[in-house]
Amino acid sequence: MGISVNHISKSYKNVKALQDISFEVKKGELFGLIGPDGAGKTTLFRILTTLLFADEGNATVAGYDVVVEYKSIRNSVGYMPGKFSLYQDLTIEENLEFFATIFGTTIEENYDLIKDIYVQIEPFKDRRAGKLSGGMKQKLALCCALIHKPKVLFLDEPTTGVDPVSRKEFWEMLKRLQEKGITILVSTPYMDEAALCDRIALIQDGKILEIDTPEAIVEHFPKQIYNVSANNMYQLILSLNDYEHNHSVYPFGEFVHYTDSRTDFNPEELKTFLETKDLSNIHIDKTVATIEDTFMELAK
């Protein structure tokens, strides 16, 4: 009774935004759609929130068909679009009150659902929404999407443009909401947030690359990854790219994530090669794959 997506395709003129997408989200699950900008995440959200028609395929949300029973869906989901979409000239309290009223409820009735979030912005409740910081806007938007106690919550890139502390708080809130039995579909371009979901779908160019739990996705990474560092990062990347046996080279913070195309790879050999390229202070250590590595590997 969560979300079920079957072979959904959607094109805009010449662009194929979504190609044959299928997945299931169980009731009460926190499901993440992970992918870069332009992957088709927003289009998928709009189809599921009955704002767009799919060209092919069908989908149900909370057991209702997105085309035929769109009115029932509009009654039972909460939607937070990627763009901040509240009334900038209304205060926090007025915004919340408005959304409570149009869903036929009151702030008091569902206060405990939003309490944890609302207490943080309540001191500013008479401030206009347009004058809030990014993090506060997101919290208010979440409150407004939650105020009618939705069965399914759609959050389209809720943490884009939000500072790291607020992002962390935001995800803690999502976890608490999940405990209250709300099914949550969230999209994000941040790979580190993926690990916080129950299951994730990696999506790129309108296609799903893989669907699994974050742990399983990392475990299934086919290669051993090495952290490589040296005195000159730029030179290091160039040299690794020149190395004839390289499989993948991605900068990753202060290291370069390196995988080799051979199964009997010997790090010493690489070290010798790098030394011939005038690099010094070279370290090559084994490391575990992250979701980002998986994504890069799958997207290759």
Partner: protein
């Protein structure tokens, strides 16, 4: 119902917190009515003229006094020679010069006729024409007084009477027009802007994914503007009655009902505009170009429809404002009841129903 009230409350917040829309709503009607009433006028009032009197006798003095006594003219300057006429016109000081011939009185008595030349500055043809007519009629009256004792055997006396606006006040003509323009603009432009604003800010997306039905959103959007437009209509009528002494001969109640009908038809037009425009700017341009211009040019507000070329006369029929102006003039100036304007009312009603049906049909319940 509670949802609906909540929605309307929100709309009023929007209107009262946006200084620009407040100004358009309440500043513009007052400014326009005062502007049209005072500044833009076809009447002549205290027009400056100059006198060139070659005879300076009792008769010319009497005539000059009569002219100076009328409220239409004020004598700005007395000039002495013909050559001054040209220069005084060039300076733009006066609009007309009255040139009395030499020996005016003597000629009048001896030959039974004397000449007076009326020279007008026709850069403004309307004023020039009016001045000539007014001076003519003052002279005629004077002449009649002179000939009191003499009876002319054959005489045709035209007795003209201007009905409904005997003083030919232009404000009588402008008030219905201005009222039409303002109601149309406020209703159509403001609603179309407020709906497209929701689209632009992305809040429409959330409203769509809510249990609100399309008609609830539309009526919720439109209702505050019905209310505000009615206030505007009342302000305009009150201003024109008290400041411009505009009579309302007919029933105020009927005037109110007809105004509400016109307001609703304009609102429906506004909704229609919002369904075809994606941004506030487009909505504004479409409202201004698509509504303002035709209303000003083709509704009969400024240019009489009967003197337009046939194709334009035909086009003018599809402009709701034309019918509303006819209705307004009927009620305000002629004092007619519904039995004389039912045809226009019916046309307006038909247009309103058509616009509402079309905009409900065009209103999208999805994003595409």
């Amino acid at each position: 119902m509670k949802r609906f009230i909540g929605f309307i409350k929100k709309e009023f917040y929007h209107i009262f917190r946006d200084k620009r829309s407040l100004f358009i709503l309440f500043g513009m009607p007052i400014a326009q009515i005062l502007l049209f009433g005072f500044a833009i006028t076809n009447e002549i009032n205290n027009v400056d003229i100059a006198i060139l009197d070659h005879s300076k006798d009792t008769t010319t003095e009497e005539i000059i006094n009569k002219i100076a006594a009328s409220e239409y003219f004020s004598i700005k300057q007395i000039i002495e020679k013909e050559s001054d006429i040209e220069s005084i016109f060039k300076k733009g000081k006066v609009k007309a010069v009255l040139n009395f011939e030499k020996d005016f009185s003597k000629n009048l008595i001896k030959d039974n006729n004397a000449t007076i030349q009326i020279i007008t500055d026709a850069t403004d043809p309307n004023t020039a024409n009016t001045i000539t007519n007014f001076v003519g009629s003052i002279l005629q009256k004077y002449q009649k007084d002179l000939n009191k004792e003499i009876t002319i055997v054959y005489q045709i006396i035209p007795e003209s009477r201007m009905v409904y606006n005997p003083e030919l006040k232009s404000v009588y003509m402008f008030v219905p027009g201005v009222m039409t323009i303002i109601l149309m603009l406020v209703s159509a432009m403001m609603t179309s802007i407020s709906i497209t604003r929701e689209k632009e800010l992305g809040t429409m997306e959330i409203l769509l994914v809510s249990p609100l039905k399309p008609f609830q959103v539309i009526i919720g959007k439109v209702f505050p503007y019905i209310f505000l437009s009615i206030i505007n209509a009342v302000v305009i009528v009150v201003l024109s009655i008290f400041i411009f002494k505009m009579p309302v001969q007919g029933s105020l109640f009927l005037l109110g009902l007809e105004s509400v009908l016109f307001i609703i038809s304009s609102l429906a037009l506004g909704i229609l505009i919002s369904t075809i425009s994606a941004s506030q700017q487009t909505a504004m341009m479409v409202s201004l170009m698509g509504l303002m211009l035709p209303v000003i040019l083709l509704s009969g507000f400024i240019f009489p429809i009967s003197s337009m070329p046939l194709p334009l006369q035909i086009i003018s029929n599809i402009i709701p404002a034309k019918w509303f102006i006819i209705i307004l003039k009927g009620i305000m100036l002629k004092g007619v009841g519904i039995q004389f304007i039912w045809k226009e009312t019916l046309i307006l009603l038909g247009m309103t129903v058509f616009f509402i049906a079309l905009s409900v049909k065009k209103y999208k319940i999805r994003l595409e």
